[in-house]
């Protein structure tokens, strides 16, 4: 059997993007939250909540846009909960985030399978959603051999994710509001003293960041065609996103690259064997690598990055200095 080797490669590149864009949403969302000085370990739960509500309400409205909006709002509501507890009520961020994950996953399963009286719609029945999620080729760029189809022919949410990342990079590094947000995450006392409303900045960015995570969750639902089963759609992507934030050095533009790197391993897990079959000479060994190694690699790499950056101290690190610390103005 003669394989279309080029086709295998193109599919491989295409899959990297298709299956891992939710990471980009989770990561950019978390970057926005962390830049405000809040370490939110609830990404997994928030993505789950965004997924389930986006899916159900999107289907009812028979509109991809409605699904995205609902997923965003559901995520933002989780963010609001996190903000009320950690910003206003000074609760420990780690604990609140972990609780949010427990709660979010509970809510996800409860809505997804707990309400036995209702059976949820099958997403494939909704033409608007199905069509809305279809690939759209970018004219010109998608004609580039090898990578054109892999990189520049995707569904709208892929483009949206990349646009969000780029806009966020621009926002953080090139605008006055981004500057202020960074100052809040670095030194809330300094930000407060020059009249920046620290609470408002934290609330706003936590909510928007969590909303973006929610869209990422919805994407996963779409990718799985929205058929609910007992294993979670999110399946650890939220935690990879937390790792990816570190790998991307808190830079949303680098997060695009990071998504590609992490996604590369993720995709090798799925399509490693087809690559091995297509290129038995050079890549045959891929078939022998246990898939779990690919799954663990993002975490191993991030652990290494953590160690390396700590050895080099803070030089050039994008980690906000006040990350994980609550701010109380009257602290003495």
């Amino acid at each position: 059997m003669e394989m279309d080797k080029l086709g295998v490669l193109t599919t491989f590149v295409h899959n990297i993007v298709v299956y891992n864009i939710p990471l980009l949403y989770g990561t950019t969302g978390e970057i926005l939250v962390e830049k405000s000085g809040s370490l939110n370990l609830g990404v997994e739960g928030i993505m789950a909540v965004g997924a389930i509500f986006g899916y159900i309400l999107g289907c009812y409205a028979n509109s991809l846009g409605a699904g995205i909006l609902v997923a965003f709002l559901a995520g933002a509501l989780c963010g609001l909960l996190f903000a009320v507890l950690t910003v206003s009520l000074q609760a420990n961020q780690n604990i609140t985030g972990l609780t949010l994950t427990t709660f979010g996953l509970g809510l996800y399963f409860f809505v997804g399978s707990g309400v036995k009286a209702v059976s949820w719609p099958a997403m494939n029945d909704y033409a608007n959603i199905k069509n809305g999620f279809a690939d759209v080729a970018i004219p010109g760029l998608s004609q580039i051999p090898l990578i054109g189809q892999g990189l520049f022919s995707h569904n709208l949410l892929v483009y949206l994710g990349v646009v969000i990342a780029l806009v966020m990079w621009f926002y953080l590094s090139r605008t006055r509001y981004g500057l202020r947000l960074r100052s809040v995450g670095e030194n809330p006392g300094a930000a407060d003293s020059v009249g920046i409303n620290v609470k408002r900045y934290k609330y706003l960015h936590i909510c928007v960041g969590c909303g973006i995570m929610g869209i990422g969750g919805y994407y996963m639902a779409l990718n799985m065609s929205g058929s609910f089963n007992s294993s979670c759609w999110i399946n650890g992507y939220g935690w990879i996103a937390v790792a990816l934030v570190i790998f991307a050095n808190w830079n949303p533009a680098l997060a695009i690259l990071g998504t590609f790197v992490f996604g590369f391993f993720n995709t090798l897990r799925v399509s490693g064997s087809s690559l091995a079959a297509a290129f038995p000479g050079g890549l045959g060994w891929l078939a022998a690598v246990p898939t779990q190694l690919y799954q663990a690699l993002p975490f191993i790499i991030t652990a290494i990055v953590l160690v390396v950056t700590s050895v080099r101290k803070r030089e050039g690190s994008g980690q906000p200095q006040a990350l994980g610390l609550n701010y109380f103005r009257e602290e003495r």
Partner: protein, 371 residues
């Protein structure tokens, strides 16, 4: 009238408990409303949940045995984590440490079980579990003291490395892989219950697993250790002020390494108890105790006694909801996760009022458009 928030010096115990009870009650009422909306009588449901199906059940002792199987790993893990937290070392790597402990204990069971007497096997399982988990934890502590690596993020990453390691063991059919069942074509873990299993002390029909007694004993030991021992004193000082600890001539790095090792060791022991009781590995062997334990330890304010109470309650919630689910088929057991989340959110909110007071500003000038 304007209000502002001030810190409390001290919150009396009755107020603290009252607030927590109130928070739990509010969460239960919210959950009850949801149950009502689903057409379930909340009182009947909660009744079933909190009695864990033992009332009017001929084999109630079986339920209680199963409940204790949930309770033991959670309580021991939470106690273990409190050691590290007391030193302000944010070990959220309980999951990973538990997994490695479980794998190590299972390895001993498979390898030593057939040749050694059972009690010795069990002891070796415990030691192996402790060593594996302890080293995994101490590795992060070493990075922290040497380079200042952020332990929260590091332990988080290592959780997943461990998770995929056990997944690898569970999904890889190979001649070397003695963890799996040879007779099955699909990769599934095989039981070693016949080789090594923690004994039960019969009390009537009820069998009290020895792990329960050991866990309670360790709880007392940890309490004494933290409160009365020199090492416990060192942990308290390091947790309070590293500068002061150095000044007092304490070898801070060694104390951090030792304490984190000990903390992780106990998590490994919890894992050994778990696999030694279950008699089989599973990729979900942890039952999320690494995560839940963090929350339990925190909510108990690192008080060993409170940890036992809180983990008993959380286990009741988790185990009770599965038994209730068998009666109320329309309520998924995921309801418990949600309820648990809601309780924790409200307790976290209540916690605010134990640390802060909201006072009205008595006379703050006229509000003339400012502020």
């Amino acid at each position: 009238m304007r209000f502002h928030v001030v810190k409390r010096d001290h919150c009396p115990l009755w107020k603290l408990l009252g607030l927590y009870v109130l928070a739990v009650a509010v969460a239960l009422v919210l959950g009850g409303l949801l149950l009502l909306a689903m057409g379930v009588n909340p009182i009947a449901y909660y009744g079933r949940m909190f009695t864990m199906g033992m009332v009017g059940n001929k084999i109630a002792y079986k339920s209680f045995e199963n409940y204790l199987k949930v309770f033991v790993p959670l309580a021991l893990t939470s106690v273990a984590l409190s050691l590290a937290f007391k030193m302000r070392f944010w070990n959220i790597g309980g999951e990973g440490q538990f997994i490695l402990g479980a794998v190590a204990a299972a390895t001993v069971a498979f390898k030593a079980g057939p040749v050694l007497p059972e009690p010795l096997t069990l002891v070796l399982m415990c030691l192996a579990g402790m060593l594996a988990a302890g080293l995994y934890g101490a590795f992060v502590a070493a990075l922290k003291v040497r380079f200042g690596t952020n332990e929260t993020l590091m332990t988080l990453m290592l959780n997943y490395v461990a998770l995929y390691f056990i997944t690898f063991l569970g999904e890889t059919k190979a001649p070397w892989n003695f963890y799996l069942d040879d007779t099955s074509a699909r990769p599934i873990f095989t039981s070693f219950a016949s080789l090594a299993s923690f004994p039960k002390i019969p009390i009537g029909k009820f069998g009290l697993n020895i792990c329960v007694i050991l866990t309670l004993l360790i709880g007392v030991l940890v309490y004494v250790y933290l409160k009365y021992s020199k090492q416990g004193y060192e942990i308290a000082v390091v947790g309070d002020s590293v500068g002061t600890a150095r000044y007092a001539g304490m070898k801070v790095n060694r104390i951090v390494l030792r304490t984190v090792f000990l903390s992780a060791c106990l998590i490994g022991l919890a894992a050994a108890f778990k696999v030694g009781t279950a008699g089989i590995l599973a990729t979900t062997i942890t039952d999320d105790v690494g995560w839940t334990g963090v929350i339990v330890a925190w909510l108990s304010q690192l008080n060993t006694g409170a940890i036992f109470v809180v983990s008993a309650l959380i286990s009741m919630l988790q185990y009770g909801s599965t038994t209730a689910a068998s009666t109320f088929s329309q309520v998924d057991s995921s309801f418990a996760d949600m309820l648990q989340g809601a309780i924790l959110f409200l307790v976290l909110a209540a916690d605010f009022y134990t640390r802060f007071r909201i006072v009205p500003v008595k006379k703050g000038g006229n509000d003339n458009g400012n502020g």
